[in-house]
Symmetry: C2
């Protein structure tokens, strides 16, 4: 039993240990090795993922052939292409493990059944998506309002452990910067 998901659900909704045992049967516990692909771009997004340990990266290949990170999933974070997962369309995104990652995986069919059987899970996901939606509007604000340099330093100050753990080129990509630019402003700050 994953105590981690149990605790996370109970932050936002109420499930008993007995109910949770049944809830866990809808999930598959998986491990991905570093750089393993969970989903390729231009395929339907059939699963959503809850990260227990490690880090997942959702990115898209740009028209210029570069990979751009749109979202990271770290401990206690849900990650998927929610539109494709919801309407079963093909996704523009790929999902890959940044490092060795343990996660729970649930298919669209199982997710639908889970929500029918356990209405508390509607409450849980409503709260999770409400926060995720709000946070993504804020990220858009940063991208539009801050200078490139401020975006980088604001992010690394807000998430210092994360900035240590994840390769610089991925953080640069997530923030819409080039790795060269990040090296440059880091060197400038050090000197």
């Amino acid at each position: 039993m994953s105590k981690q998901l149990f605790d996370h659900i109970n932050q936002y909704a109420t499930v008993s240990p007995v109910e949770f045992e049944e809830i866990m049967r809808f999930f598959e516990l998986r491990t991905a090795r570093k750089k393993e692909m969970l989903m390729e771009a231009n395929t339907p997004c059939t699963h959503t993922y809850f990260v227990l340990q490690g880090c997942l990266n959702m990115f898209f290949p740009t028209e210029k052939g570069v990979e751009r990170t749109i979202q990271f999933g770290i401990e206690n974070w849900w990650l998927t292409d929610f539109l494709s997962f919801g309407n079963k369309s093909s996704s523009n995104y790929a999902i890959q493990a940044v490092e060795k990652t343990r996660f729970l995986s649930i298919s669209r069919g199982q997710y639908d059944t889970l929500l029918e059987r356990f209405p508390q899970m509607e409450k849980y996901f409503r709260a999770i998506y409400q926060i995720g939606y709000g946070a993504s509007l804020n990220k858009m604000r940063y991208l539009q309002d801050y200078s490139k340099e401020d975006i980088y330093f604001h992010f690394t100050e807000q998430f210092p452990d994360f900035a240590q753990r994840v390769p610089q080129y991925l953080i640069a990509s997530f923030l819409g910067l080039t790795p060269e630019y990040v090296s440059e402003i880091r060197a400038k700050r050090r000197s």
Copy 2:
């Protein structure tokens, strides 16, 4: 009774006409005139809004003193600063009517009670936020991947009625462009 919200809820969840009558008591039907402010920046976001007719604009004043639109709310769209609404913190955003707008308004306290009394509304909002969250990740992808010109024409082709209705400078702001730049590429396309 607002048939429009009734129909919208029943696209994603199931409420009977009798239940809906009770649900409607949690809402206030309001009208804002063009340019009326619903919320000022740097105050807590106490309400969330469902647009019946018209258009709301959520924006933030930038450090350079310009107003940047982060989200529009048109017919059947929910609009608020979901983070501030959720955790009662001060919001960076302001909300204003672009044109004369009829909308339903619900306070945080009423929203909490509504969700407790009608668990179907958890399902409804879960579905709404799942789509909103997914769509905002896609908007980030457009902003990062497309050229400025493509962003503008992609948007106006996808939402032609909206592009007609809303002042160009607001659409420019929403897409992170300057009004001058939009005038320029429109003139170029016409010639």
